[in-house]
């Protein structure tokens, strides 16, 4: 049990320190790496409380996919340089007051939401309810998500779909003059389209580009 506690504190310490380092570190790429470390230690915490499915999904979705793309973008944009230009430029930066305003608004919104939070009256009693240990995590999650919470599940799927379509619409650009490979065209080519037999007259030649 003591070993369990020690491991728990190690992971939480790593999670907290790396979360702080995300905001503190100067190099943007480094802060993404700290974010990844944070995700990993949080998924370890999930696994420690017995939510192994959540922990693994956290690793696969956030670390394996989201953070990769994040890192990708940050590496390409070279944000670190831009930020230095913002802060080191001679004129007073116009970004800081706006940022402050936004963060203050979000802070008060959070306070309003959390201040009005009410717990279920019998929450404390429900802690003592015995957990069915025959079922694995994955099974019990599946049996709830696809029955009781099907509408919420579908709704979140729709939200993701909308976001996906939005991303495609925003970034998709049809460039002209790009040669594209079409498998159907290549396969359905005939001898007639490709080859033409011509009797060439001497010293006259043939016009090739039709």
């Amino acid at each position: 049990m003591i070993a369990h506690a020690i491991v728990f504190y190690i992971f939480s310490l790593i999670a907290i320190v790396s979360a702080i380092m995300v905001t503190v570190s100067k190099n943007t790429v480094n802060s993404v790496f700290f974010l990844i470390l944070d995700f990993i230690s949080i998924s370890c915490l999930f696994i420690m409380i017995g939510a192994e499915f959540l922990g693994m999904i956290m690793l696969i979705v956030y670390v394996g996919a989201v953070a990769v793309l994040f890192l990708f973008v940050v590496m390409m944009l070279n944000v670190a340089q831009q930020k230095n230009e913002w802060f080191n430029s001679s004129g007073r930066s116009s970004h800081i007051p706006v940022g402050l305003l936004v963060s203050i608004i979000i802070f008060f919104e959070l306070i309003i939401v959390i201040g009005g939070w009410k717990y279920k009256p019998d929450l404390l009693d429900s802690i003592a309810i015995e957990i069915n240990t025959d079922l694995t995590n994955t099974q019990s999650l599946g049996s709830v998500i696809y029955t009781d919470y099907i509408h919420l599940f579908q709704l979140s799927g729709m939200v993701l779909l909308v976001a996906m379509i939005g991303a495609i619409v925003l970034t998709f650009r049809q460039r002209s003059g790009v040669k594209r490979q079409s498998y159907f065209k290549q396969i359905s080519r005939d001898r007639k389209d490709g080859i033409e037999l011509v009797d060439v007259e001497n010293n006259k030649g043939v016009k090739i580009d039709a």
Binding site: A3, F53, I57, G64, T136, Q181
Partner: protein
Amino acid sequence: MVELIIFFEQIYRILFLLIPVLVSVAMIVWLDRRVWAFVQKRRGPNVVGPFGLFQTLADALKYIFKEIIIPASSNKVIFILAPIVTMTLALIAWAVIPFSETFVLADINVGILYLFAVSSLGVYGIIMGGWASNSKYPFLGAIRSAAQMVSYEVSIGVIIINVLLCVGSLNLSDIVLAQKDLWFVIPLFPMFIIFFISALAETNRPPFDLPEAEAELVAGYQTEYSGMMYAMFWLGEYANILLMCAMGSILFLGGWLSPIDLFPFNVIPAPIWLILKILFLFILFALIKAIVPRYRYDQLMKLGWKIFLPFSLIYVVLTASFLMYFDLLPGN
């Protein structure tokens, strides 16, 4: 005291698994080169030791004694961390591979998800190496590789869902035991093919070795690495390939199960069967390297997103409806 004994027993078991894995990685590099040479009618490495078996050890020795060069303008911490990450991730995944009914280091509930997660983390070694080198070719290689691995992971995930529908459990031992009567390679044959090709792309093997396409990118993300650090990338890559072969044999070829439950076959111990299946898949990997030309990058992306992903999604629907219609769904 008891806890201490358990602790040391665990360490002993880990070493008992890790050392054979590392040795077999060395052997598999030799096998890869031999198969490659065989297809091209060359001899391959045949000088060091019997049949050239110790060639890889000689190579490793050479790498150890070479100087490690760290580029002056690189991000040193990440530069050094990258090969370590690759190597570690390639090795920790072996913890959940079941070699027989009893011989498995960690028989966890979500074994297949763990394997999937670890293999999807493998991309970090490459991105970190490519970015930290602070050089053009490694960076381009890293970007290519990240895009490629993320794309093909998606189709591997959907293929795994196909298998899970037939099993009803995420535990690797359960997946193997569910294939007692029928290996999944028979009902899910198209998925096996797609898994195999996606595994090639996921491990950056030819014909999908665009991240290190030597004609375009020198050596991709490994360009700036030398000595032992390069060797670690290299070993990690081969350990990953072995892992993918193990995953394929567990998901589709019945893991440690013998092909037929009859006399001469069922006396052979279970781990041998798994090793034989891994070797079979690996020889296919090596043959493909020798006989298929490299894909173009847009073809690679098209194959992943426009062909494999829709096809495996359709197959999920097919499998699910088949199981539902004939009332074969596991777990009821």
